[in-house]
Symmetry: C3
Subunit: 202 residues, 3 copies
């Protein structure tokens, strides 16, 4: 179930990654590479930093899913754009899922809650940032969109719930619902960072 969700998340990240760079003008090869990087980039940096085996070298299915989805997305761009709103919600769900799974991974390694939260956020947003840097776009670090904040709060919530709840599964579901929910709200309402939290206005 979790495995299936992660594969779905990988596919969604590859698609939204590809749609994000589509305006830049890119060829099949570059598009597929950027789709794959969006999907696996965050987890790759996490595993490198933790000195763990890279997850997609241990299980190449992640690459296959990202590769096939990117290929399909490349040729179905127009049709996917019509579903962009839906994809954005799926992307928010995938970001929450990847963040929480990474947080649990670090907690299971007993490396401490602060590192777990940090790695959760990194896993969630690292791929998209890597893609933006490679595509020469302003990365989401430069954006006022509320994208990383729900993941940050959700992973923090998770490490708090994890030790108080009888089951880490229930803690995970609660955190997943609240994290996705916050992101869904940000998409739906078009929420932006309050001006006091931005250097733009000064």
């Amino acid at each position: 179930m979790l495995y299936f969700q992660q594969m779905l998340g990988t596919a969604v990240f590859a698609i939204t990654g590809l749609l994000a760079i589509q305006k830049v003008g890119v060829d099949l090869f570059g598009a597929v590479v950027l789709g794959i990087i969006t999907a696996i980039g965050g987890g790759t940096i996490r595993d490198l930093l933790l000195d763990q085996p890279i997850f997609w070298i241990a299980d190449f299915n992640y690459i296959w899913v990202a590769l096939v989805t990117s290929l399909l997305a490349f040729f179905l761009t127009n049709r996917l754009h019509k579903r962009y709103q839906l994809l954005l919600y799926l992307d928010g769900f995938a970001a929450a899922l990847f963040g929480l799974v990474a947080t649990e991974k670090v907690m299971a390694l007993q490396l401490g809650a602060p590192l777990a939260v940090m790695m959760g956020v990194l896993t969630s947003i690292g791929g998209g940032i890597a893609r933006d840097v490679l595509a020469g776009r302003a990365s989401l670090l430069m954006s006022r969109e509320i994208y990383a904040t729900p993941v940050l709060l959700g992973c923090t919530l998770y490490v708090l719930l994890r030790d108080t709840f009888p089951s880490i599964r229930i803690a995970g579901w609660i955190a997943l619902i609240l994290t996705s929910g916050f992101r869904f709200l940000a998409i739906y309402k078009g929420l932006q960072m309050p001006a006091i939290f931005s250097t733009r206005q000064r």
Copy 2:
């Protein structure tokens, strides 16, 4: 022989790396750093991902070759530009060589043919992409030039030939000749990706 070829490839990558960023306007230090990164960047990322010792930490001669070549190239830029066409062909040969050597490295580690091909391509183009990102240039992922495709096909061919041929050396030579040949043709004819494989036209 292979060692000598790899050192030659390192030198060629350092030179073409330096010529690529020359228009950006860069100082000796930055130029040499970018030349070295072009030469060793791809293999470095490969070794990090595979959790192998970084090849140039194991054998610092790679750095010396890249360093000295970058220094020379910095002061001989004008003269080298007259040989740019020749350098482009040498660069194609080096890209093919590095890709195939990396593919064989992963095959020897028994990590599977798909990962081997992926690492071959990454080793081949990773350094140039890292250089472009650091220099603020549009990377070759954004370009319609046919650069990575020959390496992708060549490494795929190699893993297919490797298990059918009596000698991996012969398989390697065949793949090297065909990979370089495809790239040489792309340079000579100025081949570009067909429009159907590009998001530019849409």
Copy 3:
């Protein structure tokens, strides 16, 4: 004492990192991430390449210091700008310190003086370069400012002194004073790379 200095250096890097990207227009989350990356990026790449435990995973205080300093710097930007000149000198000192500590780290691992100097420079400038790439700014590799050269010379001096001096502590202090001194001079006099060492004039 050295530990305290390194924490101070981390804080200074986080502040100057944040001030460097302030004009780009960035929100609290992005600003703090970029501040942290400036502070710990160079050492992180060093530890990844050397296959050593990442220093801030081993001791999370580095992250706390960078995090709190970045947060403070975000809200005190205007006040800090008035102290920019002082911060620039502190930054030069931190760059020298980090470079020399990294050089000693590699020397202690007996990986050879050339690698030690290379890792010293990388540790010193890696974080700032990573920040510039992520913020879409022209990195210091593209700049004519004399920033990396003092560290390069200082780390080289250190490996030379280290084996001739009775105490590595004295060698370290001499190298630290000379490295910072060269950088201070470059800031004070506004020194730039001589034109012969630049591709700009050609």
